[in-house]
Symmetry: C2
Subunit: 310 residues, 2 copies
Amino acid sequence: MRGYDLDLLRYLQVLIEEESVSAAARRLKTSEPAMSRHLAKLRVVFADPILVQSGRRMTASSFAAGILARVQEVVRAADGLIETQALADLANMEPSFTIRANDLIVASLGLPLLLALRKDCPKCEVIFAPEVDDPASDPLRQDSIDLYIGATDVMKPEIRRQTLFRDRMRGLVRKDHPILDQPVTPETMVRYEYISVSRRRRARGPIDWALRDHHGLTRRIAMVVPNYHAMVESMKDTDLILAVPGVVLEHISMEALGLAAFEFPLSLPYVEAFQAWHPRRDTDPVHRWLRETLFRVSRQVYQSARVVCP
Amino acid sequence: MRGYDLDLLRYLQVLIEEESVSAAARRLKTSEPAMSRHLAKLRVVFADPILVQSGRRMTASSFAAGILARVQEVVRAADGLIETQALADLANMEPSFTIRANDLIVASLGLPLLLALRKDCPKCEVIFAPEVDDPASDPLRQDSIDLYIGATDVMKPEIRRQTLFRDRMRGLVRKDHPILDQPVTPETMVRYEYISVSRRRRARGPIDWALRDHHGLTRRIAMVVPNYHAMVESMKDTDLILAVPGVVLEHISMEALGLAAFEFPLSLPYVEAFQAWHPRRDTDPVHRWLRETLFRVSRQVYQSARVVCP
DNA sequence: GTAACGATTCCACTTTTCGGAATGGTTTGT
DNA sequence: ACAAACCATTCCGAAAAGTGGAATCGTTAC
């Protein structure tokens, strides 16, 4: 009597969490028939149906629901056994990371991150996924991206997040913009039109609220664009103002583009850039190393940006 | 990145505990090449040699030795997940138990134990292994017996044991033996010769020491036999005396064999009958049920024996 | 240097696992 | 009531993985 195949616990955990054979199969990147067979084996080993029909769906049996926490703990402890060893062999690994981030994050952090990762893991690959309109929680849940970096998304409750840095918005304008002729005031701010960057038509934010609440002023939004780079290169011929996080200014060629930046004379909340990941990655040592590297790199980039633009 | 095959942990535990590929293979009832391949996989997963050459032997690497307790705990917790379910399906199981016990234990407890087991598990099988000369610890370690029942063996330190009952030795003689003509005394005890039951020529024991220490007397051993039944049927024509545990007297047909029993007039230590098993069975729910059943049955047999022969 | 013992690798065979296709089960919408 | 939609299970041929015996390798004892 040797004992049941312990690897079945991986399937058991995912089947109970998803309460669906097909969802569990998708999550572990295998087929439904294969996952259905694992379930059949689990049913024999545990002498319990594990998942039971509930109308058109399946639901966890009471036994399965009762042991889920213990199963998670066993798997977590088992994966923790290799954690200290896994990073010892990074040099020979070829992991691929899919990260979703907006164009300015990619421009400001993409290369420093890759260089830092490559120091430990020369063969790793970083894929920046294009931004699309769905909230980042969905692909994190579906495991189609490994990590999200951004500031604007609202995350689902189980998604893990870590703040990378907090920054202020600054105004970006053409170099000889008239607003620069004297110190910027709320009044001069609303004298010109703005570009708003949004993928979901949220054209108004903290700047609008500060102007309205503290000065009774309203700025005009001339246009809404989906990413920053769409406008940075062409705005030098306009009087438009673009609000950008300060940290990214270092990565914009101000002189070559004929641009300049100024600070908003408003008490604005900080923009909080964070990284987010699905909890299934919590015990993945390589993924943790990725997150820790990103954290370190973004802090370094942020510090050097503050030195350049005090 | 799905994670390593958790079933490898079973091999990891045994390999570290045994510090030998062939011993681990024997213990898990597989071949050396198969176990060597499991070790090779573990070496890849953990990026560690796990077992390293130490002269002619292997020894656990420091990493492996360091995680052994955690591995044991993970495997124990994983097996514990099915414990509450395992006994729910006893009725459909066909387990086979190999138990080593002397002939009188088999005679007195064999049938009651099987009947009790069959109440819960109608298809179970009990094999009483023949007694051989090696200490019981060895086959328990080698997993060739599931359980030992006896009183005389010294157990290795890791072997688990549980006392079943404590009993006194009694004298068994032919029915009209002259020693029964009057109350037995130490002096009459040494007037006749004895049969000693031993597989390892330990012909002298507590009876000899009590006679010598308290009465300055010595009994004569006429012969040494390997089991009780060898002599029980033929001693009715002799004046020989056989010392047996009281509990088994109920299972000897005294009238049919023309025998009788008497109490020794000595302050003898109790004989302690116990069951012993290897700790690998500690978390085996079916094995625990076997032990608990045996404990219950032996207590019942012992109680009824005390009623019959006060 | 040779024999003994255990670990590893090779190899042919067996067993298990895989995913696509087919089938079965349940609910929803018309 | 029936058809469509969705998910779970079973069937089937192919691929992958596992097995143990034989051969080879590595180390020590005599």
